[in-house]
């Protein structure tokens, strides 16, 4: 519609109609800091306020000193020039890589026991690979930036012409025209809008997460700039503050036509917020690119490392200590031998010694030898570990990106692992901190039910009721079948419950209308006229269609009407009213026009209602009223608002339906619906006019008193109301959210909801997501409002909060009922105190005891603080998920940040580690990918240490037999290939493809996920076990071979073994042993694993064959063909050593599996024996039992509901037995 209505100016002056919002200074939030707008004007021009913007004259900003950054944004780490040095630097910041670099440099000196190439080649390979990975990831970021930079916006090109230009080409001083539902490309000064009085609506969800629209208003002087042509000669100058991150302040002034006007935040439109309900606006660019407030707010995302990796570093340090230790032993041994024995070893010509082994300076030689030894035993520290892990993680990330089950068909967005560092951390999550709007809900309201005159309308039943009914129906005949998976088999259409209540399920709603899911024939098609209270119903519909601030928009093509409402609730009401036959179609400055159609047979009548006053909604008043005069001249006040507010204001005779309505409201509330009560009041002419006079007086008051006055006067009229009914609107959850929360809860995860919305909304969503349910004991922490007297209030508030927390903890402690569940709801203000140092632990302890925690009205900063509190307080992995810029802090603070992509701007996604397009994909991301990745990486690292210890220590043992001279028994090439080629692919295939159980089973048994948070696979017991295994293997490999090849002939031909033969045999044994070991470790062999494991062994033989063909191989020349191949002893030794190395592990796993099987072992066996098919009852039973005993989530709620229903049934008919599910 944007362009169609673009030229026409809407004939509305909202500023006349609005009572509160247009003139108030913005409510300074806790996070916002004091508004400097009023008094900052004097500072302009001074330090920190030096910016000068020549409006509509961007040419001036192309040169210094007025040259400001372009609107190009870049979030990449490197550019073409800096990539190489920076990436190299990054690589060598890792201790291990630095160590290897040092050894590579030393390998060029005679100290090194190996040839230089065998040290440099692996390092180059490893570093090169890591750098390629780094480059690819940065390239992706670059592409994402380009997407944003290449968005287009209409810019004034001079002569009153506007043309589209890329965002990145935008310059300070440009005049831009932003149309409806577009994002602002930079921070703008609002000049004028499609509304006559320069008002526009802005959605700032990306900035602060608030869903209600904000009103911005231009300065009076710029109002005439209402058309493209008017910018032809527009010249003005803005002097204002320098770029800063404060979102809620702005200081500056506009010099226009030789007058100076102060600019306050009301005229500033921030980048990444969105124009709503306004056809277009004109604005001047003030801050571009990285100068814009939203970019100033973005902090460099911290580099996160997973728990496993941090532990791995510790192990590396341990190994390093071991390395230094054995090197010391080695060099002391060397020094001693040099001193005592070397002079006698005439065959070494000791008289001709150089510094490296000089008998007269044994200490110096020892020190040189220490370096040699450090290099020699460097194999203890797996050089390829980091690169292998990185490679594996990239591949794992690729699998996450490619997962078809995390692809959203609607938006066409796949899951993205933006950093692959944290894959395995996904498998260890303990607490999830979730944003609400945009994450759990789609910010769309559906009119679902209403209660009019004490009668509840709307048969659509909530999902909880449905599922409970299904359970009852299926479980009634067979008591042994426990709770089924409530989400399965959703194809039945109607279920007859014992009590004879019909629950309709599924798709029998008519062709769905957006925002309207109401279904009740009593009210539809004009049938309401036949209802007993039809006059009240009429009133109800009128309130729906009249009491709002929306504007209708007529689609020129189809003639249908859409509404531009300030909040989605309001939109839902209007759609509902339209469906009921009260179509609001026109608003003028003073009137609202409604097309009424009472019965389906009668035609429509257009009615005009004169709007006298509009007392709009705000979070403090929690109500809105409209005073109007109908066609009969009656003056009516329609008021809708929170039930508690309305009920307080009812007249004595207006409470007729109060009891029934309250009951309905409770029902609706429990079903997770948002409720509002509707009421009206008939005003006498005289009464109104006297009030109106007073109101006018209040309205024209100037000064700080004004607001109070207005509120007081408004309060006077909004009394003596008569209750009409209540509405119930469903805050539409995103697809699959309750299911996902349910499963995550079953996987033992804690879920905290942090929302910027008000408490009521948050609680509703809590119900809808089954984080809250009836019967749960709710602990609400909030600061009593009202007394706001400076610091005393603060102290009092703190004390009161302390008391509340103490009471809550006491309550939790004293409760003996095992089924009791507690929920903690805390308000943003209370949270500010609760997060203070002296209270946060108390608060956290209480929160841990509660099954669910909901924090409302939290600022972005508080979100981050809560996340930090949980992360540091519990010491477990936290995951934060959100979609808006207000979640960025939280996403960056948490161990894992997940961004919801595809709905709104990119801030959250840019800051996140993983992005998914729907909350429901979190389940698969954690339960499947997280679980797999955790186990894979854990196993992989353990195995890596094992294999390098097994290999590295044999080199050390040999030294004892070689006079500690630093000679290696293996050929340089063997050592070079060991990590890079011969043993790398199997372990990579383990890290990429290993699956303990299939993805379906992961999902069917969320309890398996607990293996991660409990860290069963990377605890010290396991790590040390693997290291011990490596130690044992090294001993077995070395000493068995030593004894076999000690001095005897190795073949019938009488030849004895030389060093090459012993080394090659030992190396063969190592290759066999470590590859057999990994084969024993794996539980999932696809052709890839087979290829890699057996291929590695084959590669070794092929290599030694090929290598034996070259003369470079020296003593290994033709070693396999001529020396070892024909020797049965060689093959016998290989078999013996391989078996000896692996038998202990085999014993261990056999014993563990038979006596102490882990869950995945048993499930593997069940699958193996196909018991899940043969004994489906057992399978189902186990699946339901596997769910953690959760107190939140849908299943828990259905359980509770069933208990409740069964309890009732039991009272009615004792014949029915009660079967409770534990």
């Amino acid at each position: 519609m944007g362009r169609v209505g673009g030229r026409r100016r809407d004939r509305l002056r909202w500023s006349k109609l609005y009572t509160f919002s247009c003139f108030r200074t913005p409510a300074t939030d806790d996070a916002a800091g004091p508004s400097a707008a009023s008094d900052g004007g004097s500072a302009v021009g001074g330090p920190g306020f030096s910016r000068v913007v020549h409006c509509n004259n961007p040419v001036l900003h192309r040169r210094k000193p007025l040259k400001y950054p372009t609107n190009y944004i870049s979030t990449t780490k490197y550019n073409v020039l800096t990539f190489f040095p920076k990436a190299i630097f990054e690589q060598f910041r890792r201790v291990a890589n630095l160590y290897f670099l040092l050894t590579a440099i030393l390998s060029l000196t005679p100290v090194c026991p190996f040839s230089p190439v065998s040290m440099i080649a692996p390092l180059a390979f490893v570093v090169g690979l890591s750098m390629i990975k780094e480059g690819v990831e940065d390239w992706r970021r670059f592409i994402q930036d380009m997407k944003v930079n290449n968005r287009k916006v209409a810019v004034h090109n001079g002569d009153g012409q506007f043309g589209y230009r890329h965002w990145e080409d935008l310059c300070v001083g440009d005049v831009v025209k932003v149309e409806k539902d577009q994002f602002f490309p930079a921070d703008l000064l609002l000049l004028s809008s499609s509304y006559e009085d320069g008002i526009c609506y802005v959605e700032t969800m990306n900035l602060d997460g608030e869903t209600n629209l904000k009103v911005k208003r231009s300065l009076e002087v710029t109002l005439p700039l209402e058309e493209d042509e008017s910018f032809k000669d527009f010249r003005a100058m803005i002097r204002c503050e320098d770029p800063n991150p404060s979102l809620y302040t702005f200081v500056g002034n506009l010099e226009y036509e030789r007058q100076v006007y102060a600019i306050d935040p009301f005229q500033i439109l921030l980048r990444d917020s969105k124009l709503r309900n306004t056809a277009f606006i004109y604005g001047v660019v003030i801050f571009t690119g990285h100068d814009s407030k939203v970019m100033q707010n973005s902090t460099e995302s911290p580099s996160k490392r997973s728990r496993i990796e941090r532990k791995m570093d510790l192990i590396i340090y341990i190994l390093f200590t071991v390395l230094v230790l054995i090197s010391l032993i080695s060099s002391i041994g060397f020094a001693v031998r040099i001193k005592l024995d070397l002079p006698h070893w005439w065959y070494l010509q000791p008289q001709n010694s150089n510094k490296l082994d000089d008998p007269s300076h044994p200490a110096l030689s020892g020190i040189f030898h220490l370096i040699t030894a450090l290099i020699l035993y460097g194999y203890l520290i797996p050089i390829s570990l980091y690169v292998s892990i990185e490679l594996v993680k990239v591949l794992q990330a690729h699998f996450i990106n490619q997962d078809i089950h995390m692809f959203d068909e609607e938006t066409g967005i796949t899951a993205q692992a933006r950093t692959s560092n944290l894959n395995e951390e996904l498998g260890q999550v303990h607490t999830i901190l979730s944003d609400k709007t945009g994450t759990l809900t789609c910010n769309q309201m559906d009119f679902l039910k209403c209660s009019i005159a004490g009668v509840s309308y709307g048969v659509g039943s909530s999902e909880v009721e449905l599922a409970a009914a299904k359970q009852m129906a299926s479980g009634a005949d067979d008591q042994d079948i426990p709770l089924q998976d409530v989400w399965e088999e959703n194809n039945e259409d109607e279920i007859q419950l014992v009590e004879g209540v019909n629950f309709s399920v599924g798709n029998n709603r008519k062709a769905s209308i957006k925002s309207f899911s109401f279904d009740d024939d009593r009210l539809m098609q004009g049938n309401w006229t036949k209802e007993p209270n039809s006059s009240t119903i009429l009133l109800f519909f009128r309130i729906l269609s009249l009491c709002h601030t929306a504007i209708p928009e007529i689609n020129d093509a189809t003639g249908s009407i859409t509404y531009e409402a300030e909040s989605p609730d309001e939109g839902a009401f209007l759609v509902a009213a339209r469906e009921f036959g009260f179509e609001f179609f026109k608003r003028t400055q003073s009137s609202v026009f409604v097309r009424e159609k009472h019965t389906s047979s009668k035609g429509t009548t257009e009615r005009e209602f004169k709007i006298l006053n509009l007392l709009e909604f705000n979070s403090k008043r929690k109500r809105m009223s409209v005073i109007l005069k109908d066609e009969d001249g009656q003056i009516l006040l329609f008021c809708k608002g929170a039930d508690s507010i309305i009920f307080d204001r009812l007249a004595k005779n207006g409470r007729m339906y109060e009891a029934d309505t309250t009951r309905h409201l409770n029902d609706y509330g429990e079903a997770g619906l948002r409720t509002l009560a509707l009421s009206y009041r008939l005003l006498e002419e005289s009464e109104y006019s006297s009030w109106s006079a007073e109101f006018l007086k209040a309205k024209t008051t100037i000064g700080p008193d004004r607001e109070l006055q207005l509120e007081r006067v408004s309060d006077l009229i909004e009394r003596e109301l008569i209750l009409v009914g209540a509405t119930a609107v469903e805050d539409k959850l995103q697809k699959g959210v309750p299911q996902c929360i349910d499963r995550l809860a079953q996987a033992g995860l804690k879920i905290w909801v942090l929302t910027g919305d008000k408490m009521e909304t948050a609680i509703n969503i809590g119900y809808a997501c089954s984080l809250l349910r009836q019967g749960m004991k709710r602990i609400c922490l909030s600061i009593p409002t009202g007394d706001q007297v400076a610091h005393d209030a603060k102290k009092a508030a703190k004390e009161s909060l302390m008391l509340q927390i103490a009471n809550g903890s006491q309550m939790v402690k004293l409760d003996k009922d095992p089924d009791a569940a507690f929920a903690l709801v805390i308000d943003g203000k209370a949270l500010a105190f609760a997060l203070e140092d002296d209270m946060k632990h108390m608060f956290l302890n209480l929160a841990i005891e509660c099954a669910s925690v909901i924090c409302c009205r939290v600022s972005p900063k508080q979100k981050a603080l809560v996340t930090r509190l949980v992360k540091e307080g519990i010491g477990q992995t936290t995951l934060a998920i959100g979609d808006g810029a207000n979640d960025v802090g939280m996403i960056q603070e948490a161990d894992i940040g997940v961004g919801i992509s595809g709905v709104e701007g990119m801030q959250a996604v840019m800051a996140s580690d993983f992005s998914i397009s729907q909350f429901r994909f979190l389940e698969r991301l954690l339960v499947v990918h997280g679980h797999w990745c955790y186990k894979r990486i854990a196993q992989m690292i353990c195995y890596f240490f094992y294999k390098n210890i097994a290999f590295g220590l044999t080199i050390f043992y040999f030294e004892a037999f070689a006079g500690f001279s630093g000679q290696s028994v293996y050929d340089d090439w063997f050592m070079l290939l060991f990590n890079v080629v011969l043993t790398s692919l199997p372990v990579i295939s383990l890290g990429v493809f290993e699956q303990d159980v299939s993805s379906e089973i992961c999902l069917q048994f969320p309890a398996l996920y607990q293996q991660g948070p409990k860290n069963l696979f990377f605890d010290w017991y396991r790590i040390l076990g693997w290291m011990g295994n490596g130690l044992y293997s090294s001993l077995a490999i070395f000493f068995l071979n030593l004894c076999i090849f000690y001095d005897q002939a190795i073949r019938a031909g009488g030849q004895t073994a030389d060093m090459a033969a012993v080394g090659t045999t030992m190396f063969t044994c190592i290759i066999w042993a470590v590859n057999m070991q990994i084969a024993l470790t794996m539980s999932h062999f696809t052709w890839i694993q087979h290829l890699f494991v057996w291929g590695s062994i084959t590669t070794w033989y092929l290599f030694i064959l090929a290598y034996g063909m070259t003369l470079r191989s020296r003593d290994n020349y033709k070693i396999l063909l001529e020396v070892l191949g024909p020797a049965p002893l060689y093959w016998a030794a290989t078999l013996l050593v391989t078996a000896a190395c692996n038998i202990p592990y085999l014993i261990h796993i056999s014993y563990q599996r038979s006596c102490n099987p882990l869950d995945h072992h048993v499930i593997q066996e069940i699958k193996y024996l196909r018991k899940d098919v043969e004994d489906q009852t057992m399978w189902k039973r186990e699946r339901s039992k596997a769910r953690q005993k959760t107190k939140i989530g849908f299943t828990a709620r259905v359980d509770a509901k069933i208990k409740q229903i069964r309890g009732k049934l039991h009272k009615k008919g004792p014949a029915l037995t009660i079967h409770t599910v534990s």
């Binding site: 090849f1045 078996a1139 038998i1143």
Partner: protein
């Protein structure tokens, strides 16, 4: 609506293509350690290993080995080093051995040296493979110092400490006073002779320096035919090692008297190393090597024992495969 959405059409094309690989659904074999497999795995190892052990042990038992350490008795009790370093003294030493069992041809003659660090890094490095192979590479003696070049700067061929310290004891063997030939051909690896030691490379400047290390080489015989050198150049892995000296291609009967006339030239006395003469027959496993047989028998026996052990375990602590009561959530209830 949004004029900026350029990627609107790419929605569908973003969809990951389904493949069993990317969805991680590749068919896989999932071996499971069932009791049956455990028991049969251990039994199998046992059944395989015990016969191998027995076979190699019996092969080792058949071998007849004569060992004679002669370094102590072939020198005077005092000033052993002075004696051995004096090139003028007569170092002939005669040893008489009795053969306990019949030794079938071929009988291998070895010398065994103890405490000689042929695996010392300084020693191992001190050679020039190129020089040994190619005539043109005579000058490549960089690694050979201090035995690289002679005093006048000419390259020593073969250079380096290994060649320089070539073993130079000789054995002359007679059976029942009748001399028998010790064949010194074919004791080196064929590939070494063919490819690593040049047939056109002749020793030169060898052992001409101030200190004489070990054996001298006949300068008219190319390196590829100097088999003693070739054997020696294959450095041993351990400080005690045996190297092939020659081959007797005749049977020696039990109780035959062997007389070995030894030229005791090689200095092991400086570092206290031993020198041993060994005569041994071989079998398919090589020399007399009981260890491998015993090791196989031990591991085989252990596996059989383990197989029985696991059978007992499964009998006394049976766990039905896939018994759900062992799942953690069921066990929590029991606990």
């Amino acid at each position: 609506m949004d004029p900026f959405e350029v990627e609107g059409d790419s929605r569908k094309s973003n969809k990951p293509k389904y493949s069993k690989f990317t969805q991680q659904e590749l068919p896989a074999c999932k071996p499971l350690l069932t009791p049956g497999i455990v028991v049969s795995a251990f039994s199998l190892i046992g059944i395989l290993f015990v016969p191998i052990g027995l076979a190699s042990l019996s092969a080792s038992q058949e071998i007849v080995e004569l060992i004679d350490r002669y370094d102590t008795s072939c020198v005077p009790m005092t000033d052993k080093v002075g004696f051995i370093q004096n090139s003028k003294t007569d170092k002939t030493c005669t040893r008489t051995l009795t053969v306990p069992k019949q030794m079938k041809s071929p009988i291998y003659v070895y010398y065994q040296i103890g405490d000689f660090y042929q695996n010392h890094r300084r020693y191992v490095k001190s050679r020039s493979d190129k020089q040994l192979r190619y005539k043109e590479a005579a000058g490549l003696t960089k690694n050979c110092e201090p035995e690289g070049n002679s005093a006048d700067g000419a390259p020593i061929i073969p250079c380096g400490l290994i060649a320089w310290s070539l073993f130079n004891d000789t054995y002359t063997i007679s059976v029942n006073k009748k001399a028998i030939e010790v064949n010194k051909k074919g004791i080196a690896w064929q590939s070494d002779k063919n490819n690593k030691f040049g047939s056109d490379v002749y020793p030169s400047n060898f052992q001409k320096g101030n200190i004489i290390g070990g054996a001298k080489l006949n300068e008219s015989i190319p390196l590829s035919e100097q088999e003693d050198l070739i054997v020696w150049m294959r450095t041993a892995a351990l400080p005690t090692f045996r190297k092939l000296y020659g081959r007797i291609e005749a049977d020696i009967m039990a109780n035959d008297q062997l007389t070995v006339v030894i030229q005791n030239n090689y200095n092991t006395y400086s570092f206290g190393g031993s020198k041993v003469l060994v005569l041994s027959t071989t079998s398919w496993i090589g020399g007399k090597n009981n260890f491998i047989g015993v090791a196989y028998l031990t591991i085989g026996g252990l596996c059989l024992f383990l197989a029985v052990g696991f059978i007992v375990l499964y009998m006394f602590k049976p766990r039905a495969l896939g018994d759900p009561s062992y799942l953690s959530w069921n066990r929590d209830i029991l606990d």
